[in-house]
Symmetry: C3
Amino acid sequence: MTLREVAEKIGGWVDPQHGGLEIHGLASLTDANSGDLAFYGNPKYLSQLRKTCASAVLVSHGFGEQLSAACVWVDQPASAFASLLPLFAPKPIVLQIGIHPTALIGEGVSLGENVSVGAYAILEAGVHIGARTFLGAYSYIGHDSSVGEDSHIHPRVTIRERCTIGARAVIHPGVVIGADGFGFEFREGRQQKIPQTGTVCIDDDVEIGSNSTIDRARFGRTWIQTGVKIDNLVQIGHNCVIGEHSVLCAQVGVSGSTRVGKNVSLAGKVGLNGHIVIGDRAMVGSMSGVGRSIPPDTIYMGAPARPIDKYKKNYSQLQSIHRLYDRVTKLEAENKRPT
Amino acid sequence: MTLREVAEKIGGWVDPQHGGLEIHGLASLTDANSGDLAFYGNPKYLSQLRKTCASAVLVSHGFGEQLSAACVWVDQPASAFASLLPLFAPKPIVLQIGIHPTALIGEGVSLGENVSVGAYAILEAGVHIGARTFLGAYSYIGHDSSVGEDSHIHPRVTIRERCTIGARAVIHPGVVIGADGFGFEFREGRQQKIPQTGTVCIDDDVEIGSNSTIDRARFGRTWIQTGVKIDNLVQIGHNCVIGEHSVLCAQVGVSGSTRVGKNVSLAGKVGLNGHIVIGDRAMVGSMSGVGRSIPPDTIYMGAPARPIDKYKKNYSQLQSIHRLYDRVTKLEAENKRPT
Amino acid sequence: MTLREVAEKIGGWVDPQHGGLEIHGLASLTDANSGDLAFYGNPKYLSQLRKTCASAVLVSHGFGEQLSAACVWVDQPASAFASLLPLFAPKPIVLQIGIHPTALIGEGVSLGENVSVGAYAILEAGVHIGARTFLGAYSYIGHDSSVGEDSHIHPRVTIRERCTIGARAVIHPGVVIGADGFGFEFREGRQQKIPQTGTVCIDDDVEIGSNSTIDRARFGRTWIQTGVKIDNLVQIGHNCVIGEHSVLCAQVGVSGSTRVGKNVSLAGKVGLNGHIVIGDRAMVGSMSGVGRSIPPDTIYMGAPARPIDKYKKNYSQLQSIHRLYDRVTKLEAENKRPT
């Protein structure tokens, strides 16, 4: 595609002398080579821009610096770049459709239209899979569990018995859904297991990242509501509820029976105590540890987590504590002076 | 089951007019629907109680509020509820017994009586499996490793060569036992691998949560002692020892060669430095980072972790540091006043 | 092997009366039994030395204490011990060579000389595997991905489509390479998935620990450079670059688009923010959270992370804050005294 064609697609402007330049791929400023188009959307990356090997760069209208790369001026370089990505994306791989002959399908399994089941997958008795759903290689779907329509279960996902997964789910490799919750009682000198007889219920449009784990409830269900997005290596304890459209970043841990509201955002490595409530639309900063319930529409930070304004004021006073030491030392000296 | 029958089983009292109510399931206050029995064991959940859709609720003897749900008065609602769980639990799924024809059994493998081996499992040469043990689908048991009697290995567990697992183990999906410890030496401009020729030894009655990892020793063994319970996504480094009946919550990390005593409790996301000793019965609060050894019978908290009383006093003084700033400012103003 | 032979191999000295002692194995001071040789390299372990059941112990030249175990005096007990490990290591297990009949090899797959493919492995169409590489049981290699020469892929590794892995890679069980990066945009009341069309590129001599996850790029590549060593349960986000010979300890998390320099060391549980740069040879202490870029050749610590000297001074002042409170109280009392 020529740079002129690129500019047309995104409503941008290019110096006609560069319009014929052939663009072969998209890349970041630092990764780009000759033939690539990059974008410059944030002044923070100016030094990267100046060193880029890209043949062309999307810049915003005000930009006036002379570069070795050709410029395309657009309203919003980042989103213009994003809209180009599908045009340059590699062709999606062609997944094998149909039931692989090595897949083991138990008694009473019901498969919707055009379901695909990958090699070495195991569907235990009583499983139901909705129409057009793709189960990757090595999928393990336990007894009486179900996956809704149009879902994509990547290779090597484990779903134990009696769990329900909704429509349009995307579940990445290594995810474990429905393993026993972690419940023990110390009696007679040892930890005695508390039976975990509940299930996991995952509503529609949920995505779950690689190697994350969602435990089954002690009774009732662990419940992931519609539209929740979960990153890699996240742990969700038994009987938790994660509210609609909430986002949990990598390595988050949610202890048992905690209820996360709707549209909540938990940044990377956040830990939530058990039996607490996180209000709707609350945000928790990365690496924070939340010991108590959080009201809706708040931002919390720190370990233990506090409202962000308190956290920031406190943090800044703690960081400059040496000055307070100095002030006290000075006061002491003044007090010792003979008056 | 009628509510009267429920009350009889737990030694509770129900108003005769509600005795005929049919109970179909157990649920939490927030999850319950018509036909469900819930329990109210903690005043913290009073607002949930008032809004519950349960048909009946277990309450403690003093409770006198009028509810839409029928009440059953008992001594301890939570434990009474727990004792009812088995009665309402779904029938356990029937696991396929015997050796699945797709299981690959290596040379010299010895299987005890009534061992089950799931589909696509692999038992390498020299493996020994104790009587009545169940190996789930895709179990991988490496050369010369063994699993004791009456163990339940869930699908997709990886146990590498020469590891020993005791009796009555419960190992959840995705667990990796016996991968190489993380040991490198920086020589000649690169990280050179230090061979990890030891093993992992897991004693009886151990449970290990989904996707946890336990590395083999550099030499000798990494040792998980009797009755230890490990939650999901926990990392145990090479040559560690975890003492009897200790409990490690989700996302805990234990660095190499650290010795955790007996009956120790590590809360979620705790990190332990390498080459330290955690005394028997010590407890470490969630998200704490332990840099140095901890004496027995102590509670530690924070990063770096300190004894809980010191942690709490220090924490409270740090939280109210703004008041100390104010006091110093006031002193300064006083000192400036002409005397 | 006799103790005399051991002493000769490491250039050590043993009292002739103990020279004939038979050594059957190597072990740590605490793990050792009769017949074992241990080493004592650090005064910190003196109490372990005095209680050891080892038959013999390597000690350094100055050591004069009388022990129940026989002593071998050497220059550096720890490294002398390490050099003995290969002699006492168990014979390496014999892995099955060749293509297992249950392995599924897609169209257009090319295998170098002496490649081994384990049971139930799946190589999708277009995969290339370099000479002498060993793919363990249940390996999943996605369409058009490649693994270089002399690599060892342990059982149950998932590599999705169009990823490249270099030569001499060691990848442990449960690793997931090339799953979708975590990218969503909140539009029209829900989180919309941003396509992740890039790849993962892993250079030569990289080792990756069990159950770690490395996401594919949004576009371009996530790039792990030569010689990088990654421990267990580590998360690497989309479009990250990890520079040559850097070391990432267990449970580290690197957010998207962050660039880690060469020879960087990230201790256990470190979290890195997205879109930052970690300078070459920087070190970050365990459990630290890095919010902003870090210059080369620095040591950072804390959450948020700061240069180690500032961290230490600040930390010490915060720990002794009760004394500052006392000093202020005293000043206040003095000011109230009638002058």
